[in-house]
Every structure is written in structure tokens, then in C-alpha cells.
Assembly symmetry: D2
Homo-oligomer: 353 residues x 4
Amino acid sequence: MTNKIHFQCDYTEGAHPAILERLATTNMEQTVGYGEDAYCDAARDKIRQACGNADLDVHFLVGGTQTNATVISHSLRPFEGVLAAETAHIAVHETGAIEHAGHKVLTLAATDGKISAQQVRTLMEEHLADSSFEHTVRPAMVYISFPTELGTLYPKAELQALRSVCDEYKLPLFLDGARLGYGLAAPSCDLTLAEVAQLTDVFYIGGTKVGALFGEALVISHPLIKSHFRYSIKQGGGMLAKGRLLGLQFDTLFTDDLMGKISQHAIRQALRIREALNACGIHFLVETDTNQLFPILPNAWLKQLESRFQFSFWQKTDEQHSAVRICTSWATTEDNVNALIEAIQLLHSKANA
Amino acid sequence: MTNKIHFQCDYTEGAHPAILERLATTNMEQTVGYGEDAYCDAARDKIRQACGNADLDVHFLVGGTQTNATVISHSLRPFEGVLAAETAHIAVHETGAIEHAGHKVLTLAATDGKISAQQVRTLMEEHLADSSFEHTVRPAMVYISFPTELGTLYPKAELQALRSVCDEYKLPLFLDGARLGYGLAAPSCDLTLAEVAQLTDVFYIGGTKVGALFGEALVISHPLIKSHFRYSIKQGGGMLAKGRLLGLQFDTLFTDDLMGKISQHAIRQALRIREALNACGIHFLVETDTNQLFPILPNAWLKQLESRFQFSFWQKTDEQHSAVRICTSWATTEDNVNALIEAIQLLHSKANA
Amino acid sequence: MTNKIHFQCDYTEGAHPAILERLATTNMEQTVGYGEDAYCDAARDKIRQACGNADLDVHFLVGGTQTNATVISHSLRPFEGVLAAETAHIAVHETGAIEHAGHKVLTLAATDGKISAQQVRTLMEEHLADSSFEHTVRPAMVYISFPTELGTLYPKAELQALRSVCDEYKLPLFLDGARLGYGLAAPSCDLTLAEVAQLTDVFYIGGTKVGALFGEALVISHPLIKSHFRYSIKQGGGMLAKGRLLGLQFDTLFTDDLMGKISQHAIRQALRIREALNACGIHFLVETDTNQLFPILPNAWLKQLESRFQFSFWQKTDEQHSAVRICTSWATTEDNVNALIEAIQLLHSKANA
Amino acid sequence: MTNKIHFQCDYTEGAHPAILERLATTNMEQTVGYGEDAYCDAARDKIRQACGNADLDVHFLVGGTQTNATVISHSLRPFEGVLAAETAHIAVHETGAIEHAGHKVLTLAATDGKISAQQVRTLMEEHLADSSFEHTVRPAMVYISFPTELGTLYPKAELQALRSVCDEYKLPLFLDGARLGYGLAAPSCDLTLAEVAQLTDVFYIGGTKVGALFGEALVISHPLIKSHFRYSIKQGGGMLAKGRLLGLQFDTLFTDDLMGKISQHAIRQALRIREALNACGIHFLVETDTNQLFPILPNAWLKQLESRFQFSFWQKTDEQHSAVRICTSWATTEDNVNALIEAIQLLHSKANA
């Protein structure tokens, strides 16, 4: 549709061919709707197995904003709010969907997109010590994203510390895994899917950005959040009539570890770009090894690159430089990455000529 | 997945093959997200043309409940409610999505799923004459479905009368067209798509039940509802990241009148079933010529039929009889209809033997 | 302010003189705010004692609509609704406050303002038997008013039956007692305050209509509703800064059974009017012995009466007759009742002359 | 109720004696309810006259949190938010009432409780320049408090600048005047009530903290906010049955400038305390000349003072010092202020001995 090569986000193509083919071969089969078909059940089983826990509830929703609003609305009482980094998707980029459902997002200062157990503890202590605590929103859930909106990851020790403080204050821990596949495939990641499932109360495995046409697989271990969840899916508009479309996609992603394989591909391409940028002396807004890179480029370079490549503008860092976001995905081709690397190297050699 | 033939609803298969093929051929193209791509624009143009009005705003959302909640939430002020038939989808089958968005559904007694202009006028007159009117919800929008949840249609004269009373009381008229294609293809329908667009303030063309994998095309003529609508789509979770999937599907449905053709197929199959039932002396809960039939069958017949066919139980009509819903769709095969007709005829002949 | 005598409602005067005096004598005392003062605590103790249960939580809110919305919002999860008579205040006369808080009022056909245990059971059975139950609002609380909006009362047996069905389906039973004092003082009432407290999960004792300037005393026995309730009061705007005003009023009402005495006065006056109307052959829309009467009067009488008396128009019953509401209260004077009775007798004797 | 002298807030006593007397003399009069009585009308007229604008709509609500939530909910569309200082009452101390009504509070860094026109302009420019603006909450109203929660005031020039930027971006300007009387009476205030009315779209005159038992008088000039406002009052629980109680109180406050006189009294007492603290070399967290002072006191002093005086703890400023809030009000006695001043002087002289 355009001659530019898109690196601005990780949802520029359709779905992994194996998914499209699966949809095609099952297309004229008749199934019941609303996620109660056998394909959804099969996908649920595979996800439970991958998580190493047969007691998990698994639901499929259409998109991330919807999943976030549905989980938070379902879990909180009216006077309760959800803690999140100030950079969290729910705090910034969901047009107030959480507030529309009645809840305040209690933001914490973020370090590279992350919050710490200590920040949660401090906020809880301050809330409980406040003599007029009932005049403020009751903090009642912790939301983190993994990877974060800045492509960073929580090491296992940090996630365990969050789990601990959440246990201490009886706060459900909700992990937004819209890009979970890419996080688990990152070299620095010391967590497995099973550990993510074990350390959180509810989390989701993103499909939209990791090979599917759309869809998020929500995994719940917390008993209260489990209870009656399908009512909330329906109320939130997330109960797809042809629910099998979601089951088929996740069943495919969890067959022969397709999700793992395509995530590794995306990471490899990201690391190639990172290496090339490093070699040119480019710095990054934040150090990442997932599928999102935030290089700080000279504006002059950006001007030239943008005739052929599309990035997401992130922020101005000084008069001559800007940080941009470069994403890879399951669909990123070696050729496109080569083209980008060559273009960068050319700019670098010109600058040093 | 099952040996039964499903007639219980119109979303048991995937998508029309032309749509799947379109998704496959464009799969690895890169486009921008969120409905701002060229495929969505092309689909918008075709829909505007089919509606005969270049000034319409067209948006694509994922599902019906989501579209209903988004439109109503976007259009009403907090103290306002929406009028609807007591059988309306928004009143019964959306788990309170409208109330979750803060609004009361002001239900009117329905005749075969429909409401009349006179009912709207009476309610408005009573509201305005009530000395404590500010203690009651302000009626501020009219919702109708076309076809209704009972498969019936508003003749043009009835829709014009509703338009009139809505103009008189400044009520936006919202038409839920989840099955609009089947309605326009019904023999008794005296309305065109362009007339639907002209007589309403906002309506949608259902894709989920009429050939698409999912998706509803929302068409807005009312200036206030037009304004800032994309914020509401995002807030309501309806802004698909890979928005082109919706554009591609509707572009296909509106190419060479595919939607019209496949709707006519569904109606033909429904009429064949209706004729067969009529020939057996079966009565109907309500007379319809769209893709939904509500025959009143002897329980004994149902018991036998249900080993091979799946219907939706609708209601008990007496000790020996029940009404069920039988749906056809773009995907209904001649063979399956033949099988159903033969089974009915066999039961009939046995009964009269 | 007007020469008419007001019988249209039970909140036309200020407060019982003992309350005003109490406010005056304590006026310049300094207390902490928000209901945490000693006067509120004293009132709480007296109410607990009157209810015969030291474990009850007692809160004071400003008005009835606010109390209803706060209790229901606090008690329900987002996908849940509250059962109520179609004539219930929350269903009709609160400008959708319950829906604004996100919840559907699931209305049941009312008999003289009341609902039955059997209606609740039927609705629960239907909900649970519905194969698409998750597509409908989950019924999760029962709301009744006592006396009802039509002045009627639940006999003990009916309230016990409601309690039973609520236990069976784990539904909290919420009793709106905006006019509770008048209900308990009615000749036909076979319930005590302690029994009301014992048979419900949460209820309130209305002050606004029974001697106070304003205020409702909410009494909670249900553990989940007890938990964190003050957050909801603050969020709902019901946490009065000078909370002692509420404590002082209820402390006065519960001293020497002031509430009982003034309620009996109101009932005596109502019964005098009822007797006079009966003697003139007047029928009633509904039989009541609380402080609300609904006589069906000839329009010609109404025209003459309305030059001196103010009633609430209720409904037209035929071309020549209308039902009106006549209320008495703690403030109704013998003289005003005498005046009304004489006027009625005069009209009667003229009509029979 | 306690032997301590309360300086922690400005709502520790009842009402100005003139108000109590007014309530007593009118107590047994009969009036219609819900703010439609002649006392409310008289108060409305006096407020309009004091504001110098006969076209203003005036409504009476019970409390501040309720008024804030009602105005904001009434004014915004679902995807819109309200700008406010991070220290604003609506952002911190209303248990998320704004979010409960569906709206995000878009907080700006505050300087002594205030925000600037430039901050509003920058946020609007950033929102409009953001390519994904529809994914963020639409900023659509500006909320300020006057005096602020920190006792500071907007000079006329700053309020005019806010008015200007609000005009430029079509943002209604909402001024929370819970302590408006004390603000207008401050020596540094260069604004009149009429100018406040002229420079804002909607504001309120606090009664709760300035001589009334309770109540806020809301003044609306903005046409859209005017429209249908009483529905929102009822929905929000703010429509007092005995509405005349509010009318009587504000009528009294606006007779012979009672509000002005009692506000000046409070300011005089605050300035006496400030002067005494200044004389002892005490610094303040923020410089104010309204009825709220925020002195930074040695913890050792606080420990001694708190046996006789009650302050609000505000924040720790270093290991040895804390800022507290000291409030005066219409009810503060010369004697109590004398006692406080003497106690401070004694601590000071001991410290310097």
C-alpha cells in the first residue's frame, strides 16, 4: 500500500501463514459460538500445559485495551484503583477506558517503564497511615506490562519481589503480556511462561502482535477473578460470536511452539538492528533486547531515513536528536532489516567522511 | 466438530471464501493500523456510495454489543436513556453493557420485536407532562433493530413514522443492522440501504452474521454523533490494531454486491424451510421472511429432530409444543436444507399415517 | 409561603422541634467531621440497641437516592443487577442513579408496590436455566421498600419468604426504609425494627420524612457490604463534612422513642382521613394504613379541593375520577386534617343533596 | 466533646446563629420540595444580584465532592477528562468520584496548589499534535479551586489568562469555591464575586465551610452546562427533599453581606496567628493570607501544642520539622486564637531562653 518499509509498530502485517491456513481449512465447519467450541477448548488445554497448571482458567478476548478494561473492571470494587507505571498503556493510551469503567489509575513514577516492589509498599503504607484514607481511592490491584511499553523486562527477582508485596497487601498482580512472546524470547529474560503464570494472579498472552490476526489469551489463577468472568467478557464487548477464530489462532501458536519460534525470529532481527546502531555509536533512550528499540538519532539522519522507512517518533532528546521506536515482529523480513542496516551504515560513513 | 447440522444461529461457519482469499493475498502487506489504512478508506467509499451519501462517516468495529454500547455511550448525556423494545438485544442480551456505560434502557412493549412511532410519542408526552420529570431518566435516543431479534422488519411507512417522531422530539434514531443484509434481501422489504441511511441518524451493517469473520460497519449522519467518534471506539475497545482486516472484509462484501447476493441465498434457503413447514401445517410464533424462522413444533418432533439438527430453543408455547429458532445464513448449504426438509416431511407423514 | 394546605408529600416542613433545639444547643461545640464524632457514635449505639444487635454497622447518609445508589454500587459486581418492583423508587424516580453507577434494575411486576419470594425464585431459576445466561445481567441483590411507594407493607411472613429465597440464592436483601417509621407504626404491621434488622442484609431508617431535616441511617449486617463502606459513602458524595448533624438528629429520634411517637401521630392523622373518605363511599387505589393514602376522587371534587389543599396527582382511573396521593407526617396538624375532613364531608353532602 | 481547641479544619462547628434562627422561625411552614420553593428563589435572586448577572442559573447542592462530580459528569462526554492541579481536591480527596462517573482527572504539576494558563496551553498543544491523540483522553474542562487546597489565590491576571486559554481551546472553566468567601476576603485578593462569575463558566460558593450547616451554591453561565442540570443533580443524589433548607441558608448568607462579614472575621483571626508565627521566626510551607495557614513547626513544639490544640498534619519537612494546617473560620473565637498565640509565644521564649 506504500513504498515505505514499516518499523513503527508490530502489527503492520496480517497473521502468520500457518494461522491463515488453519482458518481456511476449517472455514466451512460448523461450531457453536462464544468460545465454547472444541478449538477453544484445545487451545485452552495447550496453554494450561505450557503454563504447567491444569487449574488455570483461560479466556480469549479480541484486543488489549478491551482485555485490560475487562480484567480491571471485573476485579475491583467501585472505590478501588489500580497501581501502574505512569507510562503504562492503561494510564496513557486507552482513552480512559479504565476510568470509563469507574476506576482511577494510581500512577507511580516509572524507571524505564517499570515499577518496583518498594514503590508499591510505600504507596500502601502511606495509604494505610493516612488518617483520611477513606477520602482517597483504595489501591487494590497492581498492573505491570511485560515487556513494558519501553521494551524493558522485569527480571525474575523483581517479579518475585512484586509478588511478595502483593501477597502482603492482598493485591492481585495483573501482567499485561501484549508482547509476552517477545519478552520470553529476549536474551536477558530469566523467566519462563510457567513462572509468569505462577507469579501473577492474572495475565495475558498477546496474539495481535505475535503472529495472530488479533486476540489475547487471558490466564487467570486468582479465584475471585475467575468467578463469573464470562459475564464480564460479554459486557465488555469481548465475546466474539465466532469465538473459534480465537481458539484456532492460539491453538496454532501453541502447536510446536510456533509462538516461541516466531518470537525468536523477531528478537534476532531486533538485535541485528541494535548491533548495527551500536556500531555507529548510536545511543538508546533505554537499553532493551526485546522487539522494541529506542535509538536516539540525529534529526538529519531521521529526515533521510524517513523517505524509505517508517518509525514511531517517541520524543525529542535535544535540538539535534530525537528518540524513535523501531519494532520488529514475527513478520519482519531479513531483507527489510538489511535495507535498514545498510541505510544506517551509509549515513554513518557519510557523517564520518 | 460435531455430526449435527447447525441451524441455531447465523454465525456457525467462518467467512465467505472471497473474504478469506482477500485476507490471504494481502496478508504480508504492511499497512498502518487502527482503521487508517487504504483498505478501510476504500471500503468506506463503497459504503458511502451504496448509501448514496458522500457525507456519511463510516467506522468499523468488531462486534455488535460493542457497537451498541459505543454508539449509545457516545451519544447520550449521563442522565439520558435510550428507548427500545423490551425484546431488544440491548435490553436483554448484552449483560447490561448499556447500563455499565451509565444508561438506562427505557423499554417499550414490543409487537413481534418492533416498537411504533405512537409508543415513542406517548412516552415523550408522558415524560414532558410529568411534574417530576427531572426525577426520571430523560428519553434521548431511539434504538431499533432491523431485522428485529424476532426476524421481523419495519415497513418503510413505519420507519418514516419513527423518523418523524424522532425529528419532533429531537431524538437520534439508531438502527442496529446486525442482520441488515438479510433484512434488505427479504421479499417483504420495501426499503433500500440508501433509504435506511437517509431515515436514521446512525446505523450499522452487520458483517459477523453476513459473510465476514467478524465486524460491523457503522454509518453516521448525525453531526453530534460524528464528532470525536474515534475516541469512543478506542475507549470502548473497538479499535482493532490491524484495522485493515475490517476494511478488507467490508470492501469485499461491497464489491459486486457480494453482501446482497449471499443475503439472497440465505433468504432463499429460509423460504424453502418455511414453505416445507407450512405444507406440514406448522404455525409460527411470528411471521417472518428474513433468515430467522420461529416455528412452533410438537415436542415429539423436536426430540427426534434434535439428534441430527441443532436449533435454538425459544419458548414453550403449550404443554406439547415449543417455538424454536431456525436460522439460515450465507453459508447454509442446499444439502443441509434438503436434509431438514426431508426430516420434517417424514415426521409429518408419520404423524398423519 | 402559600395559603394552601400541603398533603402532597411528607417533607413539607422542617424538623421536629426537639431536633432543631438539639442543633441549637450544640451549635458552637467543636467536633471532628465526617461522622467520626461522639454524637454519631451515640446515635449508632442507640440504633444498634433498638435493633437488638450489637454487631451491626451503622452509617449516616444525607438522602435516599444517594443511599440507594451507594449501597447498590458498593454491593454489586459490574455485571450484576438488582431485582426490584417495577414501581420501585430506584426503578422510576432516581433519574437512573443505579444505571449511572453501572447496574441494571431488573424489574418484576408489582402487586400494590410489592414483589414476592416466588417472583424472585422464578427469575433466578430462569436465569440459571438459560443457556446464554452469561449474556444477561446476573441477578445479585433484592431491593424492596417498606412501606412501598404505594404505602403498602410486607407482612412478616412475606418478608421471611423473601429472606428464604435470598438465602437460597445468596442474594443480599436490601430494604429501603425511607418511611420505615410510618411502616412500623401502622396498625397492620406485624414486624418490629429488630425483626427488620434480622431479616435483611442492609436497610435504612429514613430521617428526611420522619422528623429530621434530612438524613438516612443505614444499618448493615452483611459482612461484604460492611467492608470498606465508608469509601463508598465518600465516593458517592454522602459523607457530610459536619457529620454530627446526622448523629444529633438520629440520636434525638432514638431518644425516648421519638421516632415511634411522631410516626404514630402521622398514622393517626392518616387513619382519620381514611375513615372520613370511607364514610363518604370513596374507594382507594390500594388499601393502606401507613401515612400514604391513594383515594380515587371525582374530578369535580378535586377541582374544588385544590383551591385549598395540595395533593399529588397519581393517575387517572376513568374519565370522571383520579387517584391522588395524600400524605400525613410527624408535622401534620389536627387542624389541617380537620379542615380536609370537613371539606370532604361538605362535598359529599352536596353530592347527595 | 473534647477539651482540645480545634484548628484542623473549618467545619468543626454548626452554623452561624442567624442561620439556625432562620431555620427555627420558618420550621413549621409548608413548602414544596426539591429547591422549587420561594426561599430558594429568593436566594437565587440575591446571588445573581451579587454576581451582577441576571442570566445566571443558580442551583443548591449539599456538599463539595457531590458538586464536583455532578458538574464534571454533566459537562463532559465519555471520552473527555478534566484538567486539574495534582493537588486538586478532585484528584486526591474524593475517593475517585470523578473516575466513578467515568472521567480521568488529567493532572498538572502544581505550584502552591495552582496551575497556569501556559500549562493548559502546552497540554492542549501536545494533545492536538499527538498522532495518536484519539488513544488518549480528550482534555475538555479546566478545574481550579479558589482558594486552592493550599490556601493560595489566583490573582486576577492569572484567572484572566486561564479564561483566555479556555476560550481559545473551548474548554469550560470550573472554579471550586468551597472556601470562596475566605478567598474574596483575603487582603491580597484583587477579584470580586462578580469578576469570578464573569471569568468562569461554572463555579460554586461554598456554604459548608463559610457559615452554613451544609450546602454549596452552584452558579452556571455556560449554556450547555445550564441545560438539563437538574436531572444531573437528582441523579447525583444532590437534590435535597427539603430544598428550602439550602435556600434559607444562602438567603441568610447573602443578606446584609453576612458571608462577607463572617469571612473577614476568619481572615482577621488567621492573620493574627500568622503574625504571631512570623514574630517567632516560623516559616510557612506556602505563603497565604486566606483562612488556611501552613506553618513549619519544630516537632518538639507540635508535641506540646497538641495536648491543647488540634491541627492537621500536612507533611514532614525535615527530621525536626513538620508542616501543619491551621484553619480559622466564621466560628473561630478571639479567645481560642489568643490561647494559641500565647502558647506559641511561650514556646518561642522558652526556646530562646
